[in-house]
């Protein structure tokens, strides 16, 4: 990776943070043996699931950007690169476009947070993944009571579309293709 690419990536990551703040993931993966050598707050968020080790997200060291960037972190924090970074590296997207995409994603996510708060009166600070969980419970609760809420169903669909966009632009195009339905002429 060239110095120019590294600098571009840093600009994008500082403006984004979706991989740390609970927008893209519920948790970060840990490698075997990392536990016990990690920063205190990552240790605090440690958990095991099906014999694999993780730490919960949002990362407690994330405050608009990584607050321990130059210190020891979990290996995944330095090694993870999202689809957007690959797209910029491969010249599929300019840095300016990538930054605009991040901004659009933040606005879309925040719009959904506001609708959720307005619908439920729940103004607690929440992550996008946290919202998906809450929305799932709420939807089930209403279904069980046979009390269908159009607004909530629309919000659920909006969240699903935004989640698909996060997969497409930040996780991987391949995963996004797997989500998609049948091919048609208007598709790429």
């Amino acid at each position: 990776m060239t110095e120019k690419t590294k600098n571009s990536e840093q600009i994008i990551c500082i403006n984004c943070g979706f991989c740390c703040d609970g927008t893209l993931f519920y948790s970060g993966c840990l490698e075997q043996g990392e536990r016990g050598t990690l920063p205190e707050k990552i240790e605090k968020n440690y958990f095991i699931d099906k014999n694999k080790e993780y730490f919960k997200l949002p990362c407690l060291y994330f405050d608009k950007k990584c607050t321990i960037y130059n210190q020891k972190k979990a290996k995944i924090c330095s090694s993870y690169r999202c689809q957007l970074l690959f797209d910029v590296e491969d010249n599929k997207m300019m840095i300016k476009e990538a930054l605009q995409l991040v901004e659009n994603a933040k606005q879309a996510r925040n719009k959904i947070f506001k609708i959720w708060a307005k619908l439920t009166g729940d103004y607690d600070k929440i992550t996008f993944n946290g919202l998906l969980i809450k929305l799932g419970y709420k939807s089930k609760e209403l279904n069980d009571k046979k009390n269908d809420s159009l607004e909530l169903n629309i919000l659920l669909a909006q969240c699903n579309v935004l989640e698909a966009l996060f997969v497409k632009h930040f996780k991987s195009e391949k995963k996004f293709m797997a989500l998609k339905g049948t091919n048609n002429k208007s598709e790429n």
């Binding site: 659009n104 879309a108 699903n160 579309v161 698909a164 497409k168 989500l179 998609k180 339905g181 208007s186």
Partner: protein, 87 residues
């Protein structure tokens, strides 16, 4: 002259130049390529194929005949998918 308008009941969003939509009944996603997405954007207001082409000819390097042909194809496809209506 036939005019078309977007179906606002569709759940769709975009972060860059491709629109992603969800078919709620099937629980499947699909996306529109950048040209189809631009047509979708323009159809916030009722427009005819000629009016759409007038805008696209200024934005894309394409000749008029090709543009009309492609817009007609996209419109047909988008109508079939229930994304737009004929006014």
């Amino acid at each position: 002259m036939k005019k078309y308008i977007r179906n606002n009941k569709t759940i769709a969003d975009k972060l860059h130049d491709e629109l992603v939509m969800m078919d709620i009944d099937m629980g499947k996603y699909f996306s529109l390529n950048p040209v189809a997405t631009r047509i979708w954007d323009l159809l916030e207001q009722p427009l005819s194929i000629e009016e759409i082409c007038k805008v696209l000819l200024e934005e894309f390097e394409v000749n008029k005949e090709q543009c009309i042909k492609e817009v007609q194809e996209h419109i047909t496809e988008m109508k079939k998918l229930g994304l737009i209506f004929e006014e």
